[in-house]
């Protein structure tokens, strides 16, 4: 039995000690934001935030993050609402600024990697609200255990969306 704290909700999960978090999130908790891309922590499609840090759920045993604060793509709106002290009504009708920017900039193409891109962007902007171009590139290539990979080649659109999200967050809306 593993106790997971995901998106502010406690879950008791029957799972072997070594099962990676990704399979628990997708198959037991029906949280489908993280995707299986490589199973090797080489692409970032499966990323989640653990205590605010981007983690590759495909190789992270669920038991190793028991009790820690886990945020998936589904939990980004509530994370933002909590940070901004929004009311429950406001929170229900909002998206995280990163998600808003991803839509406004029309960033994804196939979109399969974009879960990890948005998780990485959230991690970056929470610690550095106004990143430079070089800092954005560093975040998406060298800050994690591997670069965040996009086969559709949306990197330029991701950079624009991160900059746009920074603007939205600065306005606090």
């Amino acid at each position: 039995m593993v106790t997971l704290n995901v998106n502010g909700v406690r879950h008791e999960v029957q799972a072997p000690d070594d099962v990676p978090l990704l399979y628990v999130l997708r198959n037991d908790l029906q949280l489908i934001g993280p995707q299986f891309g490589c199973g090797l922590a080489q692409c970032g499609a499966c990323s989640v935030l653990v205590e605010g840090k981007e983690v590759r759920s495909c190789i992270t045993p669920a038991a190793s993050v028991a009790g820690q604060e886990i945020t998936t793509l589904e939990g980004l709106p509530a994370r933002w609402a909590k940070q901004k002290g929004l009311s429950a009504d406001q929170a229900r009708n909002t998206l995280h600024p990163v998600q808003q920017a991803w839509i406004e900039e029309q960033t994804p193409q196939c979109g399969f990697c974009q879960n990890g891109m948005m998780i990485k962007a959230t991690e970056l902007l929470e610690s550095n609200p106004q990143p430079t171009l070089a800092q954005i590139k560093e975040a998406f290539t060298t800050s994690g255990v591997s670069p965040n990979l996009c086969r559709c080649g949306t990197y330029a659109a991701i950079i624009e969306a991160v900059q746009h999200a920074a603007t939205i967050m600065a306005k606090g809306r």
Partner: protein, 784 residues
């Protein structure tokens, strides 16, 4: 029930039939009937098609007009990230019907039981007239006929704005025209539903004049992006059926190995797992995904295969292709634009280029490995839930594998990772395996390929080489151009699981084939330098490498990939054009302009020259240097006509001679697609293609030994990362007088390689005629 009042009317050939006075609702649906000689073929070979699609009670129409003035559209084309079905298709239909973009509330795509026309997720804009445009144009005419009758005003006196028909001082909405009626418009089609190209709408309904467009040309947002970003979309990876089991497949040890003995499951560790064997196909099935993964790993180590060493190996690839392959089995293809007699001119040329260009195998490398959920029911019905570029073709392949009719196969289509052409012939990899395992265990089964399966058991873009000869005369003009393209068959549409299991598939690529799987190497890169007096373009084809030697009949299977075939032909042509310009002492862009006559080709060249701040001069640059630790800079250009769109690209690079490292600093591209349907979506597609093209140019190469592909992850097969991308500038040339919509999601990837290679020559004075331009290969060329 409705009172029948059949009154067929003729609408530019198609017929409109009606059942009036239904109690509530009402609808106009657009169905079809076959025309021409294909009718007989379709009626016999594809009887399920007709039965399924001629019944107006089945929801397989292209377009539905509802009483509340909303519109639903259906297309066989699944979205793979191009966004066309959710943006351009809505815009095209809204334009032809004269309704607002927002009136098209629903887009149904891909599902074989709910969409009419099949075909693959490529060429969405159909060279300017996709099926959906004609369907909308026919529907518009039918609605005008209805309005004319309702208002008592002749059709030519009617006009439509926002779905309201006006004439003679009276108005009626589309919704009111269909209210309380069941209307069916039957339009003519031809083709084969489960072929790669699906059905095509026939006839020439009047289209809205381009000058009256109000919806096309605006950057409407792609609706599916919102649901994906908010984690509200159901992806193929999310499908979970009641009682479903998870599976992994233990693929053979080599591309030619057959099964000696399948390992058994260690029940002490994996009590709920079971092994399924079908021919040489070994699957491991378990209730949970983690157990399936671990049990499959354990079974793999205990499974024994025959050895096989039938491939030339990576190091000997080009030697094998040049010296050992039989290029005489397939007839030589000659381009229609070949003319004159280059032979004597080349023989007596004062300045002559004679060179060979080589291009490696490359992977499509979707960011998620292929997967599918299959449910084979006791009554023989097969349901497949997957992400596939051509669900109708997959349906046909699965029916063939099982020896059943397509009536028994339904493919449900969901979003997933882009395939870039890999599944446009109907299968990506796991679908057939999921069907066979579900059939064996009598439950729904989900097969997920792991990263290594996807690298080693999927198809690849074909390797190729080309021999080029160019004569330049004393006026610095090209007097003759001759190119011979050599490429193994580039499209193998056989499902891999069916091959391994020894079950029926279509034939392996062969000379005589009625689809794109022939070994014949057609000319895919349209010649754009019309003033050259003597031109010879020939294509030489053969079987896939290892296809005949492998006991599995597998070998290195190929499949079309973004700009298929044309990439392999445009790269040598455009790099040779840049070399010919150098030979002539001319600037590479001006040289192309001087050898072009088509206004649009010249237009994109001038636009890319301006946008890239190109310094007009011959290459290499006067201070070109091929040694040292300091980066040197250069620029190169490339040109292409593809799917009705003209493209010109300039790449500016920095190369460090001592390391061979190339950094692309700026990628500028000018695109003239005719009518620009959606500028933002087009720009996003082009910019993505540019990034993929940099990977193709600089580091993507399939590495294989005598037994199979050696790459199994993103370290061994690297693709571009964010730090690899240059500044990207996309210049869109909206050209409404063309009157058609050109394609936009291909070409940009192919344009990078010849432009970067020309830039390397410009910077260093050394020419590299091989892809990819990996640092070690570049170093070797610069030291030579």
């Amino acid at each position: 029930m409705a009172t029948m009042s059949e009154k067929p009317a003729n609408v530019f050939g198609p017929t409109l039939s009606r059942r009036q006075f239904i109690k509530a609702g009402g609808v106009l649906v657009v169905g079809f009937s076959f025309v021409g000689p294909e009718l007989l073929k379709a009626d016999t070979a594809k009887s399920g098609t007709l039965k399924n699609t001629l019944d107006p009670t089945l929801p397989s129409s292209w377009i539905e007009i509802h009483p509340d003035n909303t519109v639903l559209i259906r297309t066989g084309k699944s979205d793979f990230g191009q966004g066309s079905t959710f943006t351009a298709y809505r815009q095209i239909v809204a334009e032809e019907l004269s309704v607002p973009f927002e009136a098209i509330t629903t887009v149904v795509a891909g599902d074989t039981d709910r969409t009419p026309d099949g075909s693959g997720a490529f060429d969405f804009l159909g060279h300017g007239t996709p099926n959906i445009r004609k369907a909308a144009a026919y529907t518009h005419q039918a609605l005008l006929d209805l309005a004319s009758e309702r208002l008592g005003v002749s059709k030519d006196k009617l006009s439509v704005k926002d779905g309201i028909v006006s004439g003679g001082g009276k108005t009626v909405s589309y919704g009111d025209l269909v209210k309380n009626q069941q209307l069916k418009l039957t339009i003519p089609v031809k083709g084969d539903l489960t072929s790669i190209f699906g059905l095509t709408i026939e006839g020439n309904p009047p289209m809205k004049p381009v000058g009256e467009y109000t919806v096309i040309g605006k950057s409407f947002k792609n609706s599916i992006i919102s649901s994906k970003v908010a984690a509200k979309e159901t992806w193929a990876t999310d499908v979970r059926l009641p009682g479903m089991l998870h599976a992994r497949v233990v693929h053979p040890k080599t591309l030619g190995s057959t099964l000696v003995s399948a390992g058994s499951v260690d029940k002490s560790k994996f009590p709920n797992s079971q092994v399924v064997v079908k021919g040489n196909l070994v699957g491991v099935v378990a209730p949970t995904e983690w157990e399936a993964i671990q049990a499959a790993d354990q079974v793999a180590t205990a499974t024994k295969w025959t050895e096989w060493k039938g491939l030339p190996g990576n190091a000997k690839l080009y030697q094998h292709l040049r010296e050992e392959v039989d290029w005489t089995s397939a007839p030589v293809e000659k381009s229609k634009l070949s003319k004159g007699d280059p032979g004597p001119v080349l023989a007596s040329a004062g300045k002559k280029l004679s060179a060979t260009y080589q291009l490696s195998y490359m992977k499509h490398a979707p960011i998620g490995p292929t997967m599918a959920v299959a449910d084979v029911k006791p009554d023989g019905m097969v349901h497949i839930h997957t992400h596939n570029q051509n669900p109708q073709a997959l349906r046909g392949e699965i029916a063939m594998m099982l020896g059943t009719s397509i009536d028994h196969v339904v493919v449900h289509s969901y979003p997933g990772p882009g395939h870039y052409g890999r599944s446009n012939g109907g299968n990506a990899g796991a679908e057939d395996e999921a069907v066979l395992l579900s059939q064996a265990v009598g439950k729904p089964v989900r097969v997920q390929w792991m990263r290594a399966d996807d690298m080693q058991w999927s198809t690849q873009a074909a390797a190729a080489f080309s021999d080029v000869q160019i004569a330049v005369d004393d006026k610095s003009k090209m007097a003759a151009y001759q190119i011979d393209h050599y490429m193994p068959a580039m499209q193998d549409d056989r499902p891999i699981g069916a091959i391994i299991a020894g079950l029926p598939t279509m034939p392996a690529p062969q000379v005589k084939s009625d689809s794109v799987t022939s070994t014949v190497n057609g000319i895919e890169d349209p010649w754009v330098y019309a003033p050259v007096p003597n031109v010879m373009e020939r294509g030489h084809g053969t079987f896939q490498v290892g296809q005949k030697a492998s006991p599995l009949a597998v070998g290195l299977r190929d499949h079309s990939m973004r700009t298929p075939g044309q990439f392999q032909q445009n790269y040598p042509r455009e790099l040779a054009m840049s070399e010919a310009a150098s030979l002539a002492g001319a600037d590479a862009i001006q040289f192309r302009i001087d050898h072009a006559s088509e206004e649009r080709a010249i237009g994109v060249l001038k636009a890319v020259r301006d946008a890239s701040a190109w310094d007009t001069r011959p290459s290499p640059r006067p201070d070109a240097i091929s040694t040292g630790t300091r980066p040197v800079r250069g620029r190169g250009v490339s040109l292409m006509l593809r799917s009705g769109t003209y493209w010109a690209c300039v790449c500016q690079i920095a190369v460090t001679p001592d390391t061979g490292m190339i950094a692309v600093e700026k990628y500028t591209v000018a695109v003239d697609p005719g009518i620009v349907v959606n500028p933002v979506q087009l720009k996003r597609n082009v910019a993505g293609g540019a990034v993929m093209g940099i990977g193709h140019a600089l580091f993507e190469e399939v590495m294989f030994d005598e037994s199979g592909i050696k790459q199994d992850d993103w370290i061994s097969y690297p693709i571009p990362t964010m730090k690899d991308i240059p500044e990207i500038e996309v210049v869109l040339l909206h050209n409404p007088k063309v009157g058609a919509y050109g394609g936009g999601s291909e070409a940009a990837n192919a344009l990078a390689a010849p432009a970067i290679a020309a830039a390397l020559h410009d910077a260093t004075g050394k020419i590299m005629r091989r892809l990819p331009m990996k640092p070690a290969y570049v170093q070797a060329v610069l030291k030579a």
